[in-house]
Amino acid sequence: MTTTSHGVREVPVTEAVLEVDDLSVEFPTEDGTVRAVRGVGYRLGRGDSLGIVGESGSGKSVTALAVMGLLPGAARVRGSVRFEGTELLGLSDARLSDVRGNGIAMIFQDPMTSLNPVHPVGYQITETLRRHNPDLTSRAARARAVELLGTVGIPSPERRADTYPHEMSGGMRQRVVIAIAMANDPDVIIADEPTTALDVTVQAQILEALQAARAQTGAALVLITHDLGVVAGHTDRVAVMYAGRIVETGSVEDIFYTPRMPYTLGLLGSLPRLDREEERLTPITGSPPSLLNLPPGCPFAPRCPLRREACDSSEPPLRRAGHDAHLSACHFAGELVGTGAADVFDTAGADSEALARFADTPPSTHAEEDPA
């Protein structure tokens, strides 16, 4: 299997390894039902890479956990998740755990808490190897674990295999997590904000390790992030999520150069860019809606500078914008051709707005819960 080079516009027509269709997830809470994911769908061909972008609370991580079957028991999941043609939703936990870590592997956000503090890192790798390869001897598993640690760029892996997670830095720990994910040559790796908790200087190295893992296993990648910059360099296609839905999807070029959804425009506008000098950053004001009792209409409408009457009455479906592989969920997608963020979003009010919000934010950790 070869890695797809960046910039391939067409969706490969090879068989799909992972197909997510009309997935929805609800959490019953004391205050009512939280609709965290509302009809998300994507298709991942062999070796494909898809970036899922959105603010916290947009349903990116919940979608990933739903695919893995790792949501808490209270969650209500509907729709379809097919892995190599097999429907995963409704599968018994025993059957699912044969797929987890073998067919689909996952990397979590915080390497500081992802590894068990009481087991050496080598053990935590051999554990997954031996789970899916019962015939593997402990000696062979150990050799493979050391090899994997080397692949993800851990110096003197032979010695490091016996150390405990607390003796490693965050970056090193995330490499171990990547080694665990690639251990059984999975077909899909889902990386949930793998670099968010790390220092900026380490982020690039971790993404490199992730690329090395993909190169060796040929796995398709779902890269969940809130950082458009990460997506640009590491995936072929992008899905932008907002309020539990995909609001725009297309190739990296589609999203970056011809966005057809005001929210995507806003995200791009708040991304610092070195190639255009004079532009100021244009933040999106306001905050994402509560996923409890969503009002009818477009969920982005309250923050949208292009809001019109139609936006409040019906929620726009995800439909073709430009060409077949570029979809957008905006009533007025057609009008956005050739529009930049600065044309739509206000730059002048940005700083004062941000400061006003900061002043309203209670500094206490006990204050109002995050809507996420």
Partner: protein, 306 residues
Amino acid sequence: MTDTEAPGSAGTHLPPADHEFTVRYRSRTRLVLRRFVRHRAAMVSLVVFVLIVLWAFVGPHLWHYSYQKYTPDNSQAPSWKHPFGTNASGYDAYAQVMRGTQTSLKVAILIALGSTAVGAVWGAVAGFYRGVVDAIMMRVADLVLTLPLFAIALVISSRSGGSWYWIAAVIAGLTWAYVSRVVRSTVLSLREKEFVEAARALGASDPWIIFRHLLPNALGPVIVNATVLVATGILTETALSFVGFGVQPPDTSLGLLVSQAQTAVDTRPWLFYIPGFFIIAIALTINFIGDGLRDAFDPRQQRVRQ
């Protein structure tokens, strides 16, 4: 991305500390109250507990028998005349349980108030000044924590002569160290917060910062801890009284009543069960109230994970 907390804006746009504190405090109180009200067991417990307190303190003034007055009826089972029956000497058990509940509650509440006051100030001062002061003060607290509460209380209160405030003082003198630990750790994390920095920048004195800023913000854990202390207090006092080192006749406490009735479980069961039920009811409701408060102050435990 709508990341509004730009690092450059942090220091400059803080409102004056006092103003900020009151606004935040009020909204947080409302929030805590709302969460507490939704905790059903805690709300029911609060009602029951308040009713018991009212009954114990107001009831004796309305009831026609005194706890220390003989009646001509000996060893009577509960009836309309004596709802909780009478004991072998003819005392009205209803009046006695009322009095015992009152004494036990007084002791428990005094323990909670006393050790909370001492412990909170002790912990706040230690956490605020840190360094040597902290080291010395916390070693003292640790030392107190190693003393076996019940045994020491038993030894000291043998001298009390049975007065309820002395028993309360002895137990509070051994339990304040728990509070000081809790408050100290909260204060240690709070003292680096912006509003403390701001208050200091405005020239506030140390006691002002401790009492106006640190302690009110440590209120959550302190209140929760106080409920635990009420429960500990009532169980310790009744146990002491049961063994004979607590409240002494002619006064009475729930523990003393159980002790006097322990040989009569078969013959006059009402004398044994009723005061026991009251101890359980008080300790149980206060624990539920504490649990509700804990959840209300720290909602993280209930959150649906995403």
